[in-house]
């Protein structure tokens, strides 16, 4: 029993919250054209939060609020990644929302969702987990429909109803756990759950997994991903397909490593099946996609599958934690980069349109290629290291078959990533005259391009420096 602990351990989250509340208040008195200052505040606080979290990583593992908030490696990684991701998301949003009436609110919602995502990962109590689920979901519903256009609100509606539906399932699971154990804290669950009757455990485990699978966009709760991604703006899509997923995946990892580790059911197998289904379905469905955002949406589904490989073996091998740490960070960088490329040409919906609009910009294409190849897992990008670590962990955890499935899926994924790379690169080759520059559908935004470059560079730097990164957080 650790008691209340030091609430200051939550300082990074408080900073984010300060950003949210302060940003909202600041926005109240900010003229419409000058809401950029809210973005500045938000970004600065995100960076501060990330810095603080990174510093805290070196510290010992602690428990706060009676063990319902755990500060350890997982939390630390998620904090840093989410805070940085949120900062980038704010920047991306800035490019598409600049001067809109709801700009301030968007930043606030991004920060709130980021807090929710971190809470998912840091939670040490299923009730906190549920509350975090709410906090990580609700701002997103609003963000998706922000533009109030036909597609956006439809996406909101679907996302929301799906989320409400899954929320019930998750609550059903939590109720089952509480029925059996009576307590909601992870450590108690870990101790008592293995002795509980099978039906209770099964419903409880599956309910909680379902909720987190929804947040992560894993099969069979992935249906919202393509529709929401395609319905909203690329900037928001980048955020939605990245930040909450990280929190959810970290949360599943924590559960698999603790409360669900010793239950008399083969939970890792179920997670492995989910992983298989996610990567396979995501890849297959992406094959024939012509829309940039839908393609990326399916790609994120398959990426989640790879992370779930690691999650499945969370308590079976020591390799799992570093694998998770590196993969989450790598995925974030590459995925944001790819979405930022889409955000750079927001008018372009299909791959062909994108290539026409942005294909002549060789540096942009180069960075995009790095990001997409990064998603494939080509060295020396970070996802390669992540994938490698994931494969290793899964194989070490006795899921060699899953490694083979994942390898096959990686090959399959190449097809659709190349479907974007090839025409884009062709633009570089063919569009020497620059004819597309003037007549293309819509201009190329500057800020997202910077983000793409940053992501590409980050992907490579993280890949090369993966060792120090992992050693720094795990070692």
């Amino acid at each position: 029993m650790s008691g209340m602990g030091n609430p200051l351990e939550l300082l990074p989250e408080m900073l984010l919250l300060t950003g949210a509340v302060g940003g909202l208040l600041l926005g109240m008195w900010t003229p419409q054209r000058r809401q950029g200052r809210v973005a500045v505040v938000a970004v600065l606080l995100c960076l501060a939060s990330a810095a603080l979290s990174a510093a805290a990583l070196a510290g010992p593992d602690v428990e706060v609020f009676h063990g319902t908030w755990l500060v350890d490696t997982i939390t630390g990684v998620v904090r840093v990644v989410v805070a940085l991701g949120a900062a980038v998301a704010v920047l991306l949003c800035r490019s598409s929302l600049k001067g809109r009436p709801r700009e301030t609110e968007a930043y606030v919602l991004v920060l709130l969702a980021a807090i929710g995502s971190i809470t998912l990962a840091a939670s040490g109590d299923v009730l906190v987990l549920m509350a975090a689920y709410l906090l990580a979901s609700i701002p997103l519903y609003a963000l998706v429909g922000m533009q109030k256009d036909s597609r956006g609100v439809e996406a909101t509606l679907k996302y929301f109803l799906m989320g409400a539906f899954v929320g019930i399932v998750m609550l059903l699971g939590i109720t089952a756990l509480v029925l059996g154990v009576g307590r909601s804290r992870y450590d108690v669950l870990a101790a008592v759950l293995p002795d509980q009757p099978t039906p209770i455990v099964a419903v409880g485990v599956l309910g909680v997994l379902a909720g987190l699978a929804f947040k992560a966009g894993a099969v069979p709760l992935h249906f919202w991903v393509p529709d929401v991604t395609a319905g909203t703006t690329p900037a928001i899509a980048a955020f939605i397909t990245t930040i909450p997923k990280i929190g959810a995946l970290a949360a599943v990892f924590r559960l698999m490593d603790g409360p669900f580790a010793d239950v008399p059911l083969d939970v890792p197998l179920v997670v492995a099946v989910i992983a298989t289904a996610s990567m396979t379905l995501g890849n297959l469905a992406a094959f024939a996609q012509d829309e940039v955002l839908r393609l990326l949406a399916y790609s994120t589904i398959s990426q989640v599958g790879y992370v779930l490989m690691v999650v499945a073996v969370a308590d079976r091998t020591d390799l799992a934690l570093p694998a998770l740490a590196i993969y989450l960070a790598a995925y974030t960088v590459a995925n944001i980069g790819a979405f930022a490329a889409a955000a750079a040409a927001p008018e372009a919906r299909t791959i062909a349109e994108w290539s026409a609009a942005a294909g002549h910009r060789r540096w942009l294409v180069l960075s995009l290629v790095i990001c997409l190849l990064g998603l494939v897992g080509t060295p020396p990008t970070a996802v390669f290291v992540g994938k490698l670590a994931a494969f290793l962990a899964a194989a070490d955890g006795g899921l060699a078959w899953l490694v083979v499935v994942a390898a096959v899926n990686t090959v399959a994924s190449l097809f659709y990533y190349l479907r974007w790379i090839v025409p884009a690169f062709g633009g570089v080759g063919g569009g020497a005259a620059g004819s597309a520059a003037s007549g293309g559908p819509g201009a190329v935004l500057r800020l997202p391009v910077v983000v793409v470059h940053g992501a590409a560079a980050g992907s490579i730097v993280l890949g090369v420096a993966a060792g120090w990164y992992v050693a720094g957080i795990v070692g």
């Binding site: 390799l319 570093p322 190849l373 494939v376 080509t378 060295p379 020396p380 390669f384 290291v385 490698l388 670590a389 494969f391 290793l392 194989a395 070490d396 060699a400 490694v403 083979v404 390898a407 096959v408 990686t410 090959v411 190449l414 097809f415 190349l418 090839v422 690169f425 062709g426 570089v428 080759g429 090369v464 993966a466 060792g467 992992v470 050693a471 795990v474 070692g475």
Partner: protein
């Protein structure tokens, strides 16, 4: 550190080339050539130092080692080093890139990017040959893929996108299979490391034949695609046909070697028992590749495709030798050592000769925009230098003594016979078919009435220019040198290769 400079210098220059926007294109090409020449000099110095060492000390030890931890949790790191097997391949790589740079001086399509891409590719290739860590090897292995994809897609001709895509996807499949195999090696070892030296010293999975077999299958599949062997070779002709001449030369000369080098460096020493158990399969694959490649090459109506298919044939011999080297039950270490040495020589020789042949194909393309046998004829008249070069390269490739091909093939056949007599007899018929196809090619291209496609006629059918000769001649000269004085090469290879052969069954 020295080796790291050798590996990274091209990459550094590549970045520099891209980063200096004001640089004139001609200067960029000059820098490219200078860099590759410097690489040759650097590797040459390494060779000289190597040869100066008392022979035998490089059987199991590596020179110029450098080791930096990269992913410490899984014992993967930046670990490079050179031994008697990798040094010749490094040297060959450096030479090939130099001649490709010389060849490309006339490139007019985005030359700066082109130079940067090739330099990037050079780093990847050199790195792969020098890597002493599985993950590092894989990284470089995959990067060659990426670089070559863009070379073909960006500077190829014909249906280049499709060919590039085919190449990329196909070999990517291979590289992933390889990765799965590497993971198996990692998990199978007691030490849990990706370090090649440690894995060679203490081969993993010695107690579990089934697992070792599966791991070997994965690695073998990956390398077989890259090599390529029957039936995984179909990406090769398309990729070559549509690639630019230097791209083809690098692809065939260097990238294919990554596959065979992988067998020598990874599959054999790290899974000696499994290699021994499955060596018969390797032999069969080698024989089928050799015969199939020769036959298919024979039937081609396109000179470049023909050359491409002969690579399948030549790599088949390498596999035959390596398989025979694994049949420890049937042959003594001495014969198997000869076979292994032959395999390594064959790699170097094939790199030089096929590189030259592909550059010569580039001469055809530059003049007439076609490789079709039917569109060319009697070139010995207007283009005697081309004819002489092609003749020498062709005879070298078909294994004429005095050129490097013979040194490799003779040792392969002589060394493998004890282990796999029937296979050798069958495979040896490949050299007859190769002879037939190259002589047929000479007859069609060089002799008879002079025929040339329309564009060549209108431009005037020039013989090879100084630039082209400067690119091709060094390759042929080196091939001749190896053919006449093979000790230069063998002194470097033999200690390491015979140690390797002794490792299996030892």
């Amino acid at each position: 550190m020295y080796l790291t400079v050798v590996i990274m210098l091209p990459l550094l220059v590549a970045v520099l080339l891209l980063a200096l926007p004001r640089l004139p294109e001609r200067a960029a090409m000059g820098i490219w050539v200078a860099t590759t020449a410097a690489e040759v000099a650097l590797v040459g110095w390494m060779w000289w130092r190597f040869a100066a060492e008392p022979s035998g000390s490089y059987g199991t030890e590596f020179g110029y080692e450098a080791k930096v931890s990269w992913i410490p949790t899984v014992e993967a790191g930046y670990h490079v080093g050179v031994d008697g097997i990798s040094l010749p391949l490094l040297a060959m790589t450096a030479v090939l890139f130099l001649v490709c740079a010389v060849w490309s001086l006339a490139e007019r399509r985005r030359p700066r990017t082109y130079a940067a891409l090739f330099l990037f590719l050079q780093t990847a290739c050199m790195g792969a040959f020098a890597a002493l860590d599985l993950i590092l090897f894989f990284v470089f292995f995959d990067l060659t893929l990426v670089g070559m994809y863009f070379v073909i897609a960006g500077w190829g001709h014909g249906d280049r996108r499709r060919s590039a895509l085919k190449f990329f996807i196909y070999t990517f499949v291979g590289s992933l299979a390889l990765l799965v195999g590497f993971i198996g090696l990692f998990l199978g070892g007691d030490e849990r490391t990706f370090d090649m030296v440690s894995l060679t010293a203490e081969p993993p999975l010695r107690d579990s034949p089934v697992a070792a077999g599966l791991v070997l299958l994965a690695i073998g599949l990956g390398l077989a695609i890259k090599t390529p062997t029957f039936p995984f070779h179909t990406w090769l002709p398309d990729a070559h046909t549509d690639a630019p001449a230097p791209g083809s030369a690098i692809l065939a000369g260097v990238l294919l070697k990554l596959g065979t080098y992988g067998f020598v460096r990874i599959a054999m020493p790290m899974l000696p028992d499994a290699w021994q158990r499955w060596a018969a399969v390797v032999v069969v694959v080698g024989v089928v590749s050799a015969i199939w490649g020769a036959l298919v090459a024979f039937a081609q109506q396109d000179a470049k495709r023909m050359v491409a298919y002969t690579s399948v044939n030549h790599m088949g011999y390498v596999l035959l030798a390596l398989g025979a080297a694994g049949l420890a039950g049937q042959a003594d270490a001495e014969a198997r050592g000869v076979a292994t040495v032959g395999a390594v020589v064959q790699m170097v020789s094939h790199g030089l000769l096929t590189g030259a042949l592909f550059l010569l194909m580039g001469v055809l393309w530059a003049r007439g925009g076609t490789y079709a046998f039917g569109r060319w004829g009697g070139l010995a008249g207007p283009a005697p230098v081309f004819a002489a070069c092609f003749g020498v390269a062709a005879f070298g490739s078909l294994g004429l003594p005095g050129l490097s091909g013979f040194i490799g093939e003779f040792q392969i056949f002589a060394g493998s016979l004890q282990a796999a007599p029937v296979a050798v007899v069958i495979a040896a018929t490949g050299i007859v078919i190769t002879a037939g196809l190259f002589l047929t090619a000479i007859r069609r291209l060089l002799t008879g009435d002079t025929v040339a496609p329309t564009p060549a006629k209108s431009w005037g059918l020039n013989d090879m220019g100084a630039r082209e000769v400067a690119a091709v001649a060094p390759l042929l000269a080196l091939s001749l040198l190896i053919g006449v004085a093979p000790r230069v090469l063998l002194d470097v290879i033999e200690p390491a290769a015979t140690t390797l052969a002794a490792l299996i069954g030892g």
